[in-house]
């Protein structure tokens, strides 16, 4: 086989392997929450004393299309869609826009689900295992285009009511200036 052909074949195999990783299905996954101590959750970028330890925890599921699709299934099965609908919000705030009341980082989303938030977000910790919370968190972030396009879901099981997560333009997360609820005078 010629050298060029071999190189091409090598590249093709490599690409194929990368594609496999995207679909890797680990049934005994150990995402960060199981192994790491809880990172501080920052809802603000004003932190006294510099420098500070980077506190973002990677969610390994964010590179795994299978895990994200599982997250989407669970999001609908466990009535997340009952309040946030397909990302547009209703009872709860929208999830597909750029506004994040409690932070947009993976661990912020994890905490919102696990511990709940005071203005009506229930605490699902103890009712959903951390593994699955990470899957849901990965899906939630895909709704506003924060995940890679080849990982984000591309179709709905039911009536299509929103642009696919895959084709949602990446919104630069901003801390919402006006809280969406609890407007106490």
């Amino acid at each position: 086989m010629c050298l060029r052909c071999r190189r091409r074949a090598g590249i093709a195999i490599l690409l194929a392997l990368v594609a496999c990783k995207r679909e890797e299905r680990a049934f005994h996954g150990l995402p960060p929450a199981n192994s790491l101590s809880k990172p501080p959750v920052r809802e603000i970028d004003l932190i006294p004393g510099t420098p500070h330890r980077p506190d973002s925890v990677p969610n390994p599921y964010e590179g795994n299309a299978y895990a994200v699709s599982q997250g989407k299934t669970l999001y609908n099965a466990w009535n997340c869609s009952g309040c946030h609908f397909q990302g547009g919000g209703g009872i709860g705030p929208p999830l597909m826009d750029a506004d994040w009341i409690y932070g947009s980082r993976p661990e912020n989303v994890f905490e919102s689900i696990a511990e709940g938030r005071p203005n009506g977000m229930p605490s699902f910790g103890g009712k959903i295992v951390p593994d699955q919370i990470w899957q849901i968190a990965a899906y939630v972030r895909s709704m506003s285009g924060l995940l890679r396009k080849d990982v984000a879901p591309g179709r709905d099981d039911a009536m299509q009511v929103r642009p696919q997560e895959q084709s949602t333009t990446k919104a630069k997360p901003v801390q919402s200036a006006i809280p969406k609820s609890a407007e106490l005078p």
């Binding site: 609908n76 466990w78 990302g87 547009g88 009872i91 597909m96 203005n119 407007e183």
Partner: protein, 556 residues
């Protein structure tokens, strides 16, 4: 009470403002509530004080009408649980307060009823009537009848078990509670219960018309209006949709959801009941207002209740027996073919029924129905009803229904859009004797405010763009309009001030189910957001912004 009288006519006998002088109607004073969620309440005027209940956090303001500009007398803060925001289906609204014997009564979103001293603003009692962890909340305005405060729960989207409760007005203690599903002893069905139609007779129908124990999470709350007939000594009120919306998991008539009860207010005993939509498959709650009238029908005067119902028909019922005398469409309907007056049953169109895994299109009226909570008024001078309502259709698909306590239990995906004609709102003047519309006003957005009509033959209502409008009650011609700061979804009132002048007041502050896209800051790219209402309201954020302001008008 917000509905003006026990018959709920919302007719004011004041006749100072008429078509001739209304051009001079101008702003008298304003008051900012400081809350920017949907303001659905009616201000309440008692003596020289006006009471205003805000959306969550359900503040109660007392304004002194004797002073220029109506300064604040006091504020009562009930501090409802923040978490209750998570179990309110359709914005954090409150529909108003009631007054009885020196006290103001109203409900808070976290399912408490409070009694506040009308003079001092001190809390007299506060009773927990529901449990938010089960999805219960309260948005309705209570009605006080014979020393009892009548309160019902919301939460048909959360798998609650619906009820109406009477609290003792003095002590706040529970007098009786009537559930709307389950065995007869819970529904307070006893020997006096004589429903008109055979399908409503039988033992424990609130159990046998549900699979297994689905009645325990079957919805059927009561978050709308109650009327009272002192002569017959009966209260009338409707029950909300069965839960979940997806009907595949709850075969049967699902009694007594999406229906109406007549009860004895002293002990809650049911006298008759009727279901507008047995086995409702569209979220067509039966909680709308019933206006109690004595109408000549086929040559004799009958005691009736008139009900512009969510499923698209204006019902006239004999309020002594529960017999349906007539039911006529007042909007575009594809979901049913009418009401069989022999059996009293709605004639359904099976192809339009919501099904799991099937997208059904052009379902009209949509989930909010031809008319939602927004109350109509009736003028004895014209003999007509002034009905604020909407013109919406939807696409709908049922999905798997999983009941998890404290989370929504809806299991349908809905996408609403304007019905034929493209106008999403309508105000219809309806002649209940000739059983047809006299005139109609088309509005761009749903008419989500109530109406009020006066002896000066003027009808007031508001639009979701923020226009407060006055119409000639006879011709429907627009006489006057004023642009308020935010969309209007409140109930306008007409009152006589301490200076004996006639005033008109309305709360402006867009929200509610229809206005959730603005009040909740929702994303219009998701057509299913806010139970599918966002798709029909994509242009509302361009038309109005959040607000919370009371506007009071008077002639100079």
């Amino acid at each position: 009470m917000p509905a003006r009288n026990f018959a709920s006519t919302r007719y004011s006998g004041l006749n100072e403002i008429t078509a001739a002088n209304i051009a001079q109607l101008r702003l008298a004073w304003t008051f900012s509530t400081g809350v920017t969620r949907g303001h659905e309440a009616a201000p309440l005027v008692v003596g020289n004080t006006m009471y205003v209940v805000t959306p969550f956090p359900n503040l109660l303001y007392a304004l002194d009408l004797t002073q220029p500009g109506a300064p604040l007398k006091w504020t009562y803060k009930p501090d409802p649980a923040l978490a209750s925001q998570g179990v309110a289906c359709c914005d954090l609204v409150n529909r108003g307060a009631a007054y009885f014997d020196g006290k103001i009564y109203y409900n808070t979103l976290d399912a408490h009823t409070v009694a506040v001293d009308g003079k001092t603003g001190k809390e007299v009692w506060k009773t927990k009537v529901g449990d938010i962890s089960k999805g219960e909340s309260i948005t309705m305005a209570p009605l006080v009848v014979k020393g009892k405060v009548l309160v019902g729960n919301s939460g048909g989207e959360f798998g609650v078990r619906g009820w109406l409760t009477a609290l003792d007005a003095k002590s706040g203690k529970l007098a009786w509670r009537a559930y709307h599903t389950g065995p007869d002893k819970d529904v307070l069905i006893g020997t006096r219960f004589k429903p008109f139609y055979p399908q409503d007779r039988g033992k424990d129908l609130g159990v046998s018309t549900w699979p297994g124990d689905a009645w325990k999470i079957g919805g059927g709350g009561s978050w709308g209006w109650i009327s009272y007939d002192p002569e017959l000594d009966l209260i009338y009120y409707g029950t909300s949709n069965p839960g979940p919306w997806n009907p595949d998991v709850r075969p049967g008539d699902n009694k007594w959801t999406a229906g109406i009860f007549a009860r004895d207010p002293s002990n809650g005993e049911a006298v008759w009941a009727y279901q507008w939509s047995p086995h409702d498959v569209f979220d067509h709650d039966g909680i709308n207002e019933q206006i109690l009238l004595d109408l000549p029908i086929k040559g004799q005067t009958r005691k009736v209740l008139v009900r512009p119902e969510r499923n698209g028909y204006i019902y006239v019922l004999d309020r002594t027996t529960g017999e349906v005398l007539s039911a006529d469409p007042y909007g575009y309907i594809t979901t049913s073919k009418g009401v069989d007056l022999k059996t009293g049953r709605l004639i359904e169109v099976p192809e339009k029924a919501t099904r799991t895994g099937k997208v059904v299109r052009e379902v009209c009226p949509a989930a909010p129905g031809t008319k939602d909570w927004q109350p109509s008024s009736y003028s004895p001078r014209t003999g007509w009803l002034y009905i604020p309502h909407q013109n919406l259709c939807e696409d709908v698909e049922g999905v798997e229904a999983n009941y998890i306590e404290g989370t929504p239990y809806v299991a349908t995906i809905v996408k609403m859009y304007a019905g034929p004609g493209g106008n999403r709102g309508v105000l219809t003047a309806w002649d209940p004797i000739r059983r047809k519309a006299v005139w109609e006003i088309k509005e761009k957005f749903p008419v989500w405010s109530g109406t009020v009509v006066t002896a000066g033959d003027v009808v007031f209502y508001g639009t979701m763009e923020g226009w407060f409008k006055a119409l000639d009650a006879r011709s429907g011609a627009e006489l006057w309009r004023f642009k308020t700061g935010s969309g209007i979804i409140g109930q306008p009132i007409v009152y006589r001030g301490p200076d004996k002048k006639e005033y008109v007041a309305v709360l402006s502050g867009v929200g509610g189910w229809a206005g959730a896209v603005v009040a909740g800051g929702l994303d219009i790219r998701d057509s299913s957001a806010a139970l599918g209402f966002v798709n029909a309201m994509k242009d509302l954020p361009q038309a109005t912004t959040k607000g919370g302001m009371l506007y009071v008008f008077a002639l100079p």
